[in-house]
Symmetry: C2
Subunit: 357 residues, 2 copies
């Protein structure tokens, strides 16, 4: 079997077929199974394995099996205006409703120049960039953001009361790849602390706080503590704005009101909130001119003088596009333990996990 460090390489189409079949087995319609699978596989292809099947598939299936997440997509538009809509996700699969919410934003932007939709009573929707990037093929600028259960303290505090609250912008270019920013509002993800703890390496200053809310560079102490917001009080401000828009404004959970997340709570719905925006480029500039200017801007950035010791300047999203090309050609790495989990899941649901021959 072809392998990489800590993983076995599988062709994306084999993982996709397996994932669709597994979702169908627990009551998800073929159409919806295809949508949620595409979001998860796309995250793996782009190297965002934390939001791919490698981390999410078994968790999602478990939540569907115990009934804390609904396999059937039922949603309704609770409020609507020419350029806005509030959608009640009714505890359906996060990706399925998020995809429809972004489609609705795009369709409104075609009519009025901009569309902004919000979703409440939703589940984890995967990677934010999946939705912002939906705008690209329509020559629009896409945006999406979601709140999440708390793991970050406000500046000056030590109580986790804000999520990592990520957001993503995607802007189309011409000959260059689109610019796609997808970032959490913490300095690093919790996974990075785990990695440093495993290797017994000190953290960089500013990454995390201990249980008393005091900065620490000890990875074990940090794991018992909280993630630091990006750049201190500014990242706290960003995380709060995301929570107010996605949670408070939509009527979903916010702040410290979330039950445990994903596998941590299998009894209560997540009731996450998210927002989606599409800006029609043509409302401001002819699309061809915009794309030409985007190409020039990207080239100027990438061609600017390097810092000492740096070998290349990336624009946001560039690493993910390169990873996708690489993984489409050579496969998606699945850690050995996750392969075992998938084999077991496949046996349980009578969907054999693909063999690599």
């Amino acid at each position: 079997m072809p392998g990489v460090e800590g993983g076995v390489l599988f062709p994306a189409d084999k993982l996709r077929a397996f994932t669709v079949a597994v979702f169908e087995k627990v009551g998800v319609s073929p159409e919806d199974a295809a949508v949620v699978t595409d979001s998860l596989i796309e995250a793996n292809l782009r190297g965002v394995d934390t939001h791919g099947i490698t981390r999410m598939l078994c968790v999602y299936i478990k939540r569907l099996q115990v009934g804390v997440m609904s396999p059937r997509t039922e949603w309704s538009i609770a409020r609507e205006n020419a350029s806005t809509a509030l959608i009640d996700a009714k505890n359906s699969l996060g990706q399925v409703v998020a995809t429809r919410a972004m489609q609705l934003a795009i369709s409104k932007a075609k009519q009025t120049g901009i569309g902004f939709t919000a979703v409440n009573h939703a589940n984890h929707y995967g990677a934010a960039a999946y939705y912002s990037m939906m705008a690209l093929e329509h020559d629009m600028i896409g945006f999406s953001s979601t709140n999440a259960p708390a793991g970050v303290a406000p500046w000056g505090g030590r109580q986790p009361i804000l999520g990592t609250n990520p957001f993503s912008y995607a802007l189309p270019a011409g000959e260059e790849e689109p610019v796609v920013l997808d970032m959490a509002t913490t300095v690093v993800a919790r996974g990075r602390l785990l990695l440093y703890a495993k290797q017994n390496l000190p953290l960089e200053p500013g990454w995390a706080l201990d249980e008393r809310g005091v900065p620490t560079t000890d990875p074990q102490t940090a794991l018992r503590g909280i993630l630091a917001p990006l750049g201190g009080y500014k990242g706290y401000g960003l995380a709060l704005i995301v929570d107010l828009l996605c949670g408070v404004m939509t009527g979903a959970n916010y702040g410290g009101h979330f039950p445990g997340f994903l596998a941590d709570n299998l009894e209560e719905p997540s009731d996450i909130g998210s927002v989606f925006m599409a800006i029609n480029v043509n409302s401001f500039m002819d699309t061809a001119e915009f794309k030409g200017r985007m190409d020039q801007a990207v080239r100027e950035i990438k061609g600017s003088a390097l810092a000492e010791g740096a070998t290349r300047i990336y624009v946001p999203g560039e690493i993910e596009f390169e990873t996708k090309a690489e993984r489409l050609a050579h496969g998606i790495p699945v850690p050995e333990q996750v392969v075992k989990d998938f084999v077991a899941l496949g046996q349980e649901l009578a969907v054999p996990f693909p063999r690599l021959d």
Copy 2:
């Protein structure tokens, strides 16, 4: 004369009257002089002295006097849709066109749920929060962002090709003060480096890079180098998105294309770009319910457990509201040197700078 550290306290109304009169003397209409003055005085009241008359008045007047900025407000709507508009500021006063652009966004949001306007060929508009906060009295959520001449390098680079590119969100609350985030996408402002250099104190890690693009904590070295983006590559990504929206999409200057800024270049127009957004809360939730949830969210944050050594948790904007109350009661501090500049400016334009008796 009542004084504070490094400044003399002047009542806001005296400074306001002087500022309006000075603008009128160089050809600005009474209405427009009132608008630009209100933006500048409001920044001083809120403690954002970098965007108040204390830093900007002499510079703006100089630019108007030499003709590199137009005293007459001429603007036109270049493109318009139900929820969007592109406005050509025609080198008018930044604050005057920005105010109209935000008013237009608010008026569109009343009709369609959201309004998004963009401005090109503009001048420095002062503090971003002035515009986002215009949405509050309409029970809307406001947003504004602007690009600015380059002073920040991309991640991995050493060439200043991005501005500090700030943005602001303002959300109305009920009994609590609104939440108002207004932040640049650098860790600290250049003024902070100057302050540390003056006191010969080492900078905190992550604030700045030297001329080679290597992190430094020496303030003198940092002043010859560049400001670090907030949280490394994430802040670089944010600054880039702001520049692409405000500069590339609007047809204004972007990246490294700016001539010198404010007093640094008195020959070429700035051609700055900005964007403005208003979201009608009522499109998503009854306003009273939203404000109640905002109050609760703010109280939960402020009442959460303190970090060791911290005395209070602030929400974004809270310090500025308190500063405004304080300065309305006791006056706006004007540094001695700036008082001298204002006295000289008043003599030149036959508008006596107010005496404190």
